[in-house]
C-alpha cells in the first residue's frame, strides 16, 4: 500500500488510538506555544508598506456595489453577504500635507475607478474580461435589464443575462473557453462569467456544459442543487414528473467528476455516472438522490453524442462517449468548416431521431420567457469566428513509462524548457485522461516520488502498485505558480509482480557452496543488483527483512557464483534476490525459490 494512493481507506481518526491521540494533543500544545513565542510576528511597518504597495495597483470598489452574482438568486447567496471590507486605514489620524507620489498614483486610480463605477455601473465594470457571446442560435431570446429580445448569433452577452430557447430552438453560449449548448425549452441565466469562474443558473430544460480547461471554476445551479466542475463536461436536464408534477434534475458525468451540493446533500457525480435528484425539497428534509452508472441506452442519446462530437472537434476529450463517436458518426467530413461559410445550427437534435432516453421531455412551462417564438430555420452567422483553443498551448515532453517487476513503474521524460521551470510532477491515474493541471483531477494523484525539483533530473520511480493493475501517467513541468507549461502525452502500463527466477541450485564447495540460477531477463532499467542472502533461522530469507547478504552482483546476466566460507556446522536457507535502488529505497524485482544447504 502506498501513502499517496487515493484508493486507500485511511485511519481517519487519530482518536481511535488513545496513545496517538495523547501524542497529537501534546504536539498541538507545543505548536501553540511555539507560535506564540512571537518571533514570527511581522513588523507592523513591513505589513503596512507591503499592503499599500500591493493594493496600489488595484482599483477600490465601493462597498455599496455589492457582488452582482447575488442579485439573481437570493436563495443562492453566499453564507454571509459578500460586502467587501473597505480598505482600513493603517496609519491613523494624521494626514500629511503632501502625499508621496505612489500614494497620489493610488488615489488617482481609485478616483478613476470610483467615477467609472458611478458612470458605468458596477455590473459592467466588474464583468470579467472573458469574451461572452452567443454562438449558433435559433428561436432564442435574451432578457436583459427587463427587456426581452431575440438573441442573435454572435451577440455579446454579459452577467445577469437570461437566455431562453423556444421549444424548437437552441443556442450555444461561448463563455470564454467554456461553452454551454441549450436544447429547446431551456432557460439559463449568466450569473457570473469570467475567465476564471463561470456561474450559471439553469432553471429549465437541458444543457450540455463544457468547462474550458483547467483553472476555470464552473458552477451550475439548478434550484437548490449546485453542480461544480473544473475541466469537465456534463449534461443537466430538468424534468417534470408527469404523475405528480414534481421537479427533478438529471446530471450525466461525461468527462471527469462533478461535485453536487445542496441542502443536506454532498455527492460526487463520477465520470460515466447518472444522478437524478428531486428538487424543491422542504428545508431539512433528506435529499432524494439516485446515482447509477451510465448505460448504453443513455449513451445512445443523439444529444449527447453530437455534443461530444462537437467538443471533440474543438479538441476536448469526449470522455465516456469516446467509443460512441466513431460508431455514431462514421462520416465526420459532414462537419461544416466554420472558416468558409456560415455556421449550421448548433442544435444536434434538429433533424435527428428522437433521443432514446424515454424520460418525458421537459415542458417549457417553467420557462420565464414571455414570447417563445419558434424559428425552425436558423439564421446564418454573418461572420463566423474561428473557435478559440480551450487550453493554453503546452510545450511537449517526451515520456516513457516502463512497468517493472515488483509493482513499480519507471518514468523517463525529456527535459522541459528552462523558462518558467519550477518542478516536474507526474500524475498517476486509473483513467487514461489526465488533465494538465495541479492539483490533479480525481482519480489522478500526484505521488511524492514523482515530484522532481531539478530540471536536469529526467526520471522517477513510482512504486507500490498492485500487480495487474493498469495505471496511466502524465508528466508535466510547472511554473512556480503551479501552472503547467509543458506536458507529455499519457502513457499506460500494467503493473507487474515480482519475477520468479525459479529454483536456486546449490552445490557444496569446500567450506561454502556454489549457486546457480536463471538470470533476470526483465525490462532494461528495472534491474540494479543481485544479492544472495542466507539465514540459519528464517525459512524465507530476504534482504529487506534483514537476512545477511553473502554475495552481491551487478550484472543482470550473471547466473552463478561461489560462496567460499560459511560458519560450520549449520543449515543455511539461501535465496537470490534482485533489486533496484531508488530514492525511495530498494525495490525487490525478482527472486528465486529458497534452497537449503548443510555446511558440515
Amino acid at each position: 500500500m502506498r501513502p499517496d494512493d487515493d484508493r486507500l481507506v485511511p485511519f481517519d481518526r487519530i482518536g481511535a488510538d488513545p496513545v496517538l491521540d495523547a501524542l497529537a494533543s501534546e504536539l498541538t500544545d507545543a505548536g501553540r506555544r511555539a507560535r506564540s513565542a512571537g518571533r514570527e510576528t511581522p513588523r507592523a511597518a513591513f505589513a503596512t508598506d507591503l499592503r499599500a504597495r500591493l493594493l496600489a495597483g488595484l482599483p477600490i470598489v465601493a462597498p455599496v456595489a455589492g457582488p452582482p452574482l447575488d442579485r439573481a438568486r437570493p436563495s443562492l447567496r453566499l453564507p454571509e453577504p459578500l460586502t467587501p471590507r473597505p480598505v482600513a486605514p493603517r496609519i491613523a489620524a494624521r494626514t500629511p500635507m503632501l502625499l508621496p507620489a505612489p500614494r497620489w498614483t493610488a488615489l488617482a486610480i481609485a478616483a478613476v475607478v470610483l467615477v467609472a463605477v458611478v458612470s458605468l455601473g458596477p455590473t459592467r465594470l466588474l464583468t470579467g474580461p472573458a469574451e461572452l457571446r452567443a454562438g449558433d442560435v435559433a428561436a432564442a431570446t435574451l432578457s436583459r435589464d427587463g427587456v426581452t429580445s431575440d438573441l442573435a448569433p454572435s451577440e455579446a452577452l454579459r452577467a445577469d443575462d437570461l437566455i431562453t430557447t423556444g421549444p424548437d430552438g437552441f443556442a450555444t453560449l461561448e463563455l470564454g473557453t467554456s461553452r454551454v449548448r441549450l436544447d429547446g425549452g431551456t432557460a439559463l441565466r449568466l450569473v457570473e462569467a469570467t475567465t476564471a469562474r463561470v456561474e450559471l443558473d439553469q432553471s429549465a430544460g437541458r444543457a450540455w456544459h463544457r468547462v474550458g480547461g483547467p483553472g476555470v471554476s464552473y458552477t451550475v445551479h439548478t434550484a437548490e442543487v449546485s453542480w461544480t466542475a473544473d475541466g469537465t463536461a456534463f449534461d443537466l436536464r430538468l424534468e417534470t414528473d408527469p404523475s405528480n408534477g414534481g421537479a427533478w434534475v438529471r446530471g450525466i458525468g461525461i468527462e471527469h467528476d462533478v461535485a453536487i451540493t445542496g441542502p443536506n446533500l454532498t455527492a460526487t457525480l463520477d465520470e460515466g455516472a447518472v444522478a437524478r435528484i428531486r428538487l424543491g425539497r422542504q428545508a431539512g428534509s433528506v435529499a432524494d438522490v439516485a446515482l447509477r452508472p451510465i448505460t448504453d441506452a443513455d449513451l445512445r442519446d443523439p444529444w449527447l453524442i453530437d455534443n461530444a462530437r462537437r467538443d471533440a472537434q474543438l479538441g476536448f476529450d469526449p470522455g465516456v462517449l469516446d467509443g460512441w463517436l466513431a460508431e455514431a458518426n462514421p462520416t465526420p467530413a459532414a462537419t461544416p468548416d466554420p472558416t468558409v461559410g456560415p455556421s449550421l445550427p448548433d442544435d444536434p437534435v434538429t433533424g435527428s431521431p428522437e433521443p432514446v432516453v424515454t424520460i418525458a421531455p421537459p415542458k417549457p412551462t417553467t420557462v420565464p420567457t414571455p414570447k417563445p417564438t419558434p424559428k425552425p430555420t436558423p439564421r446564418p452567422t454573418p461572420t463566423p469566428k474561428p473557435t478559440a483553443k480551450p487550453t493554453p498551448a503546452l510545450a511537449s515532453l517526451g515520456l516513457t513509462a516502463t512497468a517493472c517487476p515488483g509493482g513499480f513503474t519507471r518514468l523517463a521524460w525529456t527535459v522541459a524548457p528552462a523558462e518558467k521551470f519550477n518542478h516536474y510532477q507526474s500524475i498517476r491515474s486509473s483513467k487514461t485522461s489526465i488533465p494538465a493541471v495541479y492539483p490533479p483531477v480525481s482519480p489522478g494523484v500526484a505521488p511524492d516520488p514523482l515530484y522532481v525539483a531539478d530540471r536536469a533530473t529526467l526520471g522517477a520511480v513510482d512504486a507500490g502498485l498492485e500487480p495487474g493493475s493498469t495505471v496511466s501517467y502524465r508528466t508535466m513541468a510547472f511554473s512556480v505558480d503551479d501552472v503547467a507549461y509543458a506536458a507529455s502525452s499519457v502513457k499506460t502500463v500494467t503493473a507487474k509482480a515480482v519475477t520468479a527466477l525459479g529454483a536456486l541450485i546449490l552445490t557444496p564447495e569446500g567450506a561454502g557452496f556454489s549457486a546457480g540460477w536463471a538470470p533476470y531477463s526483465g525490462p532494461d532499467g528495472c534491474f540494479g543488483f543481485y544479492k544472495l542472502v542466507v539465514s540459519t533461522t528464517d525459512l524465507t530469507p530476504s534482504y529487506l527483512d534483514g537476512a545477511s547478504p553473502v554475495w552481491v552482483g551487478e550484472s543482470a546476466a550473471t547466473s552463478s557464483t561461489i560462496v567460499e566460507t560459511l560458519d560450520p556446522p549449520d543449515t543455511y536457507h539461501v535465496r537470490l534476490e534482485a533489486f533496484l535502488d531508488t530514492p525511495g529505497g530498494k525495490i525487490l524485482v525478482a527472486q528465486t525459490d529458497v534452497a537449503d544447504i548443510i555446511i558440515p
Partner: protein, 202 residues
Amino acid sequence: MDHVLPRDSRMDPTRERALVARARVDAAAFGELYDFYMPRIHGFIARRVGDRAVAEDLTATTFERGLGAVRGEGFRNDAFGGWLYRVAANAVVDHVRRDRRTVPLGARAGDGGPDDGDEAGVGDERAARAFTEALDRDQLRRALLRLPENHRRIIVLKFYDDLELDELCLMLGCSRATFAVKLHRALRALRAALAKESTDAA
C-alpha cells in the same frame, strides 16, 4: 495596526473563493485576503529562514505572486491559502538555492552546518528544530528529530505551522484521505521513536 490574527480562525472557503474572484478588480477583496494570510505566511516563512529581512523579502515575493496569479488568466480558484503556502515553500527553497550559490568566503558546503542536506528539507529542518524547543519532554524532542524527514515534515506542518487540512493537502499534493494516512503513519513512527528513546534511556 495589529496583524496577529487569531490562529484558530479559518476563512470560510466560499468567502475565500469569492474574494479571490473579486480580487482582480477590487482592492478591498485582496486586502482582506492579505490581512488574513499575511501573518500566517510570514510566520510560515520566518520559521524556515533565520533572517527577518529575508523572511520579509520572501513574504513580499509570495504575495506579489499571489496578486499576480489572481489577476492573471486561468487561476484555479479553489484553495488560495494552500496555494499561497506552496508558493511560500517554493520561495524558501529558491532562496536556499540562491544562497548556496553564493557561499561566503571561509564557508563551504558540507561543513556540517544545520542546513546541509536536501534543499527541500532545509527550511523544514529549521522549523522542526524550533518546534522541538517547545516540546516539554526531552525524549519526545529526540524522537522527533530522529524521525525520517517525510514524517517530521508532516508533523511540523500540521502541529507547528497549524495548516488547515486543505492547505496541508495542497502543500503535500495529496488528497484528504491520503493525508490522514500520512499523518497517522507519522504519529506512529513518532510513537515508535519515542519508545526507542525510552528503551535507550533505560
